[in-house]
């Protein structure tokens, strides 16, 4: 079946504008993760959704970042009043149950550039 998809693949925006990034997880996967990867770095956890439970937002770097997951499927990550340091690749991943031995399947990412 289809893997995790993300849109847009690239986004260039001006400082101060809001952006929305979309993630379509693999059908049937209950767990969804957002990560951020700055140039040449490893991944930084942002937020986690599991089924209908309240999301784990412990990785969000500031209150300008928010995310929602509608109907337990598609997720949107919103960054308000973007700053240049928000420039990074934003990666979404899903896994079957969110257990620690479940493989996470990653999307291709959205490369965000804030001018």
């Amino acid at each position: 079946g289809a893997g995790v998809s993300q849109s847009p693949s690239n986004k260039v925006t001006e400082k101060g504008k809001d952006v929305e990034l979309r993630c379509d997880p693999i059908s049937g996967h209950t767990a969804l993760y957002w990560y951020r990867q700055s140039l040449g770095q490893g991944l930084e956890f942002l937020i986690y959704f599991q089924g209908n439970s309240a999301p784990d937002k412990s990785g969000l770097p500031s209150d300008r970042f928010s995310a929602e997951r509608t109907g337990g499927s598609v997720s949107t990550l919103t960054i308000q009043r973007t700053q240049q340091e928000d420039s990074a690749v934003y990666l979404c991943a899903s896994s079957l149950l969110g257990l620690d031995y479940n493989e996470q399947f990653f999307g291709p990412g959205t490369r965000l550039t804030v001018l």
């Binding site: 995790v4 767990a31 993760y33 990560y35 990867q37 140039l39 770095q41 490893g42 991944l43 930084e44 956890f45 986690y48 599991q50 784990d56 412990s58 990785g59 690749v89 990666l91 991943a93 969110g98 257990l99 620690d100 031995y101 479940n102 493989e103 996470q104 399947f105 990653f106 999307g107 291709p108 990412g109 490369r111």
Partner: protein
């Protein structure tokens, strides 16, 4: 924060040679996973090794785990140019989210 560290940061070898990448971590783990990333985009899961396993194989990949030293290694045998990528080790976080905590990665270049 990143709890795993890979070394070397960069590795360049000739096609056909073996490539070894190492990963160290600081806290106890239930399992450790290795991922590959091409061109700074999506990651692909390579292999998972559980804490009670010492070695695991998958095709040309061999992963070892030494929980007493809190270290793991990934060996790619008979490397190919297509193996050129960044390789990350990752461990599930101990919190409820079970998010992966990634190391900083090893950039492997296989020269044809």
């Amino acid at each position: 924060s990143q709890q795993g560290e890979e070394d070397p940061q960069a590795l360049s070898i000739q096609e056909g040679e073996n490539a070894t990448m190492n990963c160290s971590y600081k806290t106890s783990i239930n399992n450790l996973q290795w991922y590959r990333q091409n061109s700074g985009r999506g990651l692909v899961h390579l292999i998972l090794i559980r804490s009670n396993e010492r070695e695991k194989h998958s095709g040309r990949l061999r992963v070892t785990l030494d929980t007493s030293k809190k270290s793991s290694s990934l060996l790619i045998t008979a490397s190919r140019a297509a193996d050129t990528a960044s390789y990350f080790c990752a461990r599930p976080d101990s919190g409820s989210a079970r998010q992966l905590t990634f190391g900083s990665g090893t950039q492997l270049t296989v020269l044809p």
